[in-house]
Amino acid sequence: MIRKILIANRGEIAVRVIRTCREMGIETTAVFSEADRTALHVQFADEAFCIGDAPSSDSYLHMDRIIDTAQKAGADAVHPGYGFLSENADFADRCVEAGITFIGPSGDAMRAMGSKTAARKTMSRAGVPVVPGTEEGIESDEEGLGVAESIGYPVLVKAAMGGGGKGMRVVESPDDLAGALRTARSEAQSAFGDDTVYLEKYLVEPRHVEFQVLADQHGNVVHLGERECSVQRRHQKLIEESPSCILDDALRNAMGEAAVRAAEAVGYTNAGTVEFIVDQDRQFYFLEMNTRLQVEHPVTELRTGQDLVRRQIEIAAGMPLPFRQEDVRLHGASLECRISAEDPNAQFMPSVGAVTRLSEPGGPGVRLDSGFCAGYEVPIYYDPMIAKLIVWAEKREEAIARMKRALEEYDIGGIKTTIPFHLRALSDPRFISGDYSTSFVETMGPDEDAGADERHIAAAFAAIMKHREARRATPAGVGGDGADGAGESPWKLTGRRDAMRRER
């Protein structure tokens, strides 16, 4: 059995993994960059070691130092979380070579899914529907024009090794194809070191529906139902839910079985996610497989009662899955909102700084997977997602109401967050009805003046604060001008006091 796990990650997912390890009585080793010395995952782990400077390439992506730390700490296993090295096949192989269990699939399974063109070929052979398009890279503009003609415009130019929207272009007409191929190739080369691009049919207003799978080392593969992740901005998911409003039991079973076939086709083990897109005729197509735990895994945990990190560790330790497909029960409705340090009123601009005030939501059906505490200084080097708020309720409309209630309770001071965005999104009639697609965010209307009463009170409150600060300043005033607030203001004092604390 596994006695000690090194968590090769940071933030909320490192904290998430540590929690399950503690519950299983497994020791935890955290690693951290210079920027994360006081981060929550360092506090929560049994031990923690610095592995380098703030940039990821010097720390969380530095394989040598991570493997070296695991060996020095005597860790039996490494959990990669998501992002960073989690889908790096070489890292998985190197862990195994170093005698350390990698909690995830084999390097070979990752490679089989890592190339989009290779994966499309494998899936087709396994009977998993793929979006019409090519299974090989496009060599020339002429070849591209021919393929695009046969599958019909609009088409999507995609990087074979791509992800996160990079090296991706929508082409509406033959005139634009050559240019799109050129820019996509150049982006792909610089982002992934491989300029292979291929063509796919571009689906209009599709929905993004993914299936969670678990596969042990004894040939058992099950799926744990779907997550709908169509609320995206720049290919970044913002809200995920389960069940998906467009699935009925028949479609769920068909897609779930396809997901299991996809995993089996590459000899997959551990937790993974098969992503599909579903078009307006409810046809589904394989998009890609994420060969790791997903950000949104808690949505599935709440609907199934499973602890997916516990299952991951058991599988990595060679244990068989403790249940079969027919034992999986999906209960109620679950919803996740990703809380990021971004300003939704300023094009989601990252918001760095210290968290000066923190009040977290609670009560029935609310789960918070957070990576920070009060006093935390959001660093500029990493992904701005700092927490995930997940709710469960018996029915979807109750889950939405619960999420709004929890978002309203959640108070994070000192930085801007995406909480106001989520409140708006959950009030959007399209979201409420369940009739939304991946174009949801870009077609959201301008911010309605929902807080008119609050702003009225805000004006009154601001005047009172100013008045009190002026009144307090006057007696102590050196040279007066108190009414102007030029004296020591409680407001300013507060800010200054915070700054002092940070400097110490």
């Binding site: 340090a341 094009q347 989601f348 601009m349 990252p350 760095v352 700084g353 000066t356 005030r357 500029i380 080097y381 990493y382 992904d383 701005p384 978002l407 309203e408 108070d411 001071g413 000192g414 801007k416 909480i419 106001p420 409140l423 929902a450 807080g451 609050e454 702003r455 009225h456 009170i457 805000a458 004006a459 009154a460 409150f461 601001a462 005047a463 009172i464 604060m465 100013k466 008045h467 009190r468 002026a470 009144r471 009414a483 102007d484 607030g485 409680p490 407001w491 300013k492 507060t494 800010g495």
Partner: protein, 168 residues
């Protein structure tokens, strides 16, 4: 005392009479009595306004004052009404002039979409900066002519570095 409170584009006139927790107040003709109690550290307050319950926070973000009422956050400016009247002219003179587009955070310049001499409109994107693994576009607040460009693509910048200067 009377104050002018500006939130977004709306300016409220607030006159108030503050006595030990209870504040009598007129805001744009509406009369309110506010029962205000400090919850934590002189920043977090409970307000009861004719029984309605509000939780209000006062914060500073750099130069900016911010208040948050029941989760709705607003950036505010507050001025003494009399002083504001005296300063009216000074203000409007100061407001004219050049706009400096600064880096809101440390990062790397991905793209500069304007050249010196270009005319830009209010809200137009001028620079793309990468930070926290994301690309972010910076916009001109007011329209004008690009007077100076102080960075190039690929440059690393610190917070508050001036990137582009726009003038009348």
């Amino acid at each position: 005392m009377s104050y002018l409170v500006t939130i977004q584009d709306t300016t409220y006139t607030v006159s108030l009479d503050d006595r030990e927790g209870k504040v009598a107040l007129r805001i744009d003709g509406r009369t309110l009595e506010i029962d205000m109690a400090s919850i934590h550290e002189d920043r977090l307050f409970s307000l009861l306004v004719d029984g309605r319950s509000y939780t209000a926070v006062a914060a500073t973000r750099g130069e900016q004052r911010e208040v948050k009422v029941n989760g709705v956050s607003s950036e505010v400016t507050v001025e003494d009404e009399q002083l504001a009247r005296l300063r009216g002219q000074v203000k409007s003179r100061r407001r004219a002039g050049s706009e400096q587009i600064k880096a809101p955070m440390p990062g790397r310049i991905v793209y500069v979409s304007v050249a010196v001499g270009d005319t830009v409109e209010s809200g137009q994107g001028v620079v793309v900066i990468e930070a926290m693994k994301m690309e972010n576009e910076l916009h001109a607040h007011a329209g004008g002519t690009v007077k100076d460009i102080r960075v190039g693509e690929g440059d690393t910048v610190d917070k508050n570095d001036v990137l582009v200067v726009i003038g009348d």
